[in-house]
Symmetry: C2
Subunit: 335 residues, 2 copies
């Protein structure tokens, strides 16, 4: 009887969920949704690119906790689900210390998989469209093996994530762990790092600061841009669903860099100038998800068009760049 | 004066060389050459696939030392050069514990790169033709990025080695470490593991045991086979030379599995039967090195033809399988 009572005590109403990298751009939006639905959420973040400001609005909530911890070191927690997002995701950040990036992707993922195995939690890896490299197939389906340079300056991220996927599947095959793999395509929205060198944040920050928009190469390389709430919805459906993946999560709407510059001009400043610069090494020429699999198996597809999502991000960037009085940290528009 | 004398004491005639995986098939032949030229050689090996028997003939030599150690754990040593070979290399062995294979390739390489940086040693990574996966270019040049499945059952080795290459280049770019990268193609010779599932050792052992030679698929997939002394010569030229690589080290002579079976029949037993079996997943269809770069920059090319090298391996296998009195451990024919 005492044992039964004790076990009964362990039962909780909502799920206990760990979000590594939960103070980051995508992570913090995911945390908002999980907290809103009544889960107990633990964020583990070393705050290398994450920001306390992104989750501070949950600090008074007993169902929320933030631990300053680097996933390269093991940690013991008791949860039901692990969303593993921890890793710098923009070239500026992941190239800063390439060896650390690989450690985060490989040793960090190993630690979180080990934790998931120990406590019987379901594990979701946020991988990336970068596993396709500079793709020779267009659009990219999940069965495409990719075209990645193993010894280039981006490889710390690309190869690191590919190895993280391998580890995830090896734990699934070898230890029967419940795993999920998402391959995330370009995402934008409020709380994005302002100076991370990514094209959307670059253009928006430049237009707001009255600087010219810098386009690399001829501006004809394409990207697809997904609003962050669409991605968060996809991640949660993937975690709750029955399929392992990998699943492409991205918006198949394809824009050239020049088209994107035009949308930013239309949204912020019609007089913004465009400046061309030499392209960086290894920059993929095109990237566009085939999301047939996610549509069929997760019933998911993005809902927010670029011209609708961009203004929501601009509002947040304006507040953070110009220090408006209204706090930007609770920006949840469009979700 | 005392300091000068102390430093003078530290000077040695030959080089101090660390060979990780030095008790393995390739490693032990490399050790033989290094010891023969007067180097002080330290072997680090966990003996997972390596065998003490392969290096026991050096045990009385003061210039030789073997340490039973797993490179997944750090180790501190003082040497001038590090040949980093430690990793199970046959599918049977590297699939045995895929997570451990990734740890060996990533954490093991990290540890050895960290050691090299600390002591200012030159570091050579033995990578693999597996980084090309199931190649869409034939033959493979070093600039080809490969066609590797990130989530398959071979990925622990393929992706692990790709990430090891990335780490090696990141240490070179970031810490100015002197590095060398070799991409090794199929190699055979005395001291190869007898039951490692590789096609040459399989066929030779089967023919000797009067079992049918098992050919997977239609037998038309091709491989190139390099005799171990040719590889060792290439590794040493690469280490001593001025070029980083990656360099393909392999024999461009291309054989189908059926042609190889024929050579084995001619060498061992003309009456050996051939048996066809279903192919394994992810098995590459063809693999053949373009060695132009190694020829031009290292002045290296293989010298031993398959019909000349195979009998040397057969002699060794015969001794080990049938337990002949003559020791097989000093087999250095053909070097």
């Amino acid at each position: 009887m005492l044992v039964a009572a004790a076990i009964f005590c362990l039962k909780r109403k909502g799920l206990r969920v760990l979000v590594t990298g939960g103070a980051g751009f995508v992570g913090s939006h995911l945390v908002d949704r999980l907290v809103a639905r009544g889960d107990s959420v633990i964020v583990v973040d070393n705050l290398f690119t994450g920001r306390k400001e992104n989750v501070m609005h949950h600090f008074g909530n007993p169902n929320f906790e933030m631990i300053r911890h680097d996933v390269v070191e093991p940690i013991l927690l008791e949860v039901d689900q692990i969303y593993h997002l921890a890793c710098p995701a923009s070239p500026v950040h992941y190239k800063y210390n390439p060896v650390k990036t690989i450690k985060t992707n490989v040793v960090g993922t190993l630690n979180m998989l080990g934790l998931a195995k120990r406590i019987g939690a379901r594990f979701l890896l946020t991988s990336t469209s970068e596993v396709y490299g500079d793709p020779l197939q267009h659009p990219q389906v999940e069965t495409y093996w990719g075209n990645v340079n193993p010894i280039g300056v981006r490889s710390c991220y690309d190869e690191g994530k590919r190895t993280a996927e391998t580890l995830t599947m090896d734990y699934h095959r070898g230890a029967n762990l419940e795993v999920r793999i998402a391959r995330i395509f370009n995402t934008y929205g409020p709380r994005m790092c302002i100076d991370d060198g990514r094209v959307v944040s670059n253009f928006v920050a430049q237009a707001l600061r009255k600087e010219p928009l810098t386009v690399y190469g001829d501006g004809k390389q394409t990207r697809s841009f997904q609003y962050v709430s669409d991605l968060v919805e996809g991640l949660m459906r993937l975690m709750e669903g029955d399929h392992i993946g990998p699943f492409n999560l991205g918006n198949p709407g394809e824009f050239t860099m020049l088209e994107l510059a035009k949308v930013v001009q239309d949204t912020i400043d019609p007089n913004a100038r465009i400046e061309f610069r030499e392209n960086t090494q290894d920059d993929p020429h095109k990237r566009k998800p085939d999301i047939t699999k996610a549509k069929e198996q997760l019933g998911w597809e993005p809902k927010i068009a670029l011209r609708d999502g961009l203004p929501l991000m601009v509002t947040d960037f304006r507040k953070r760049i110009f220090g408006d009085q209204d706090s930007a940290t609770t920006a949840t528009e469009g979700q």
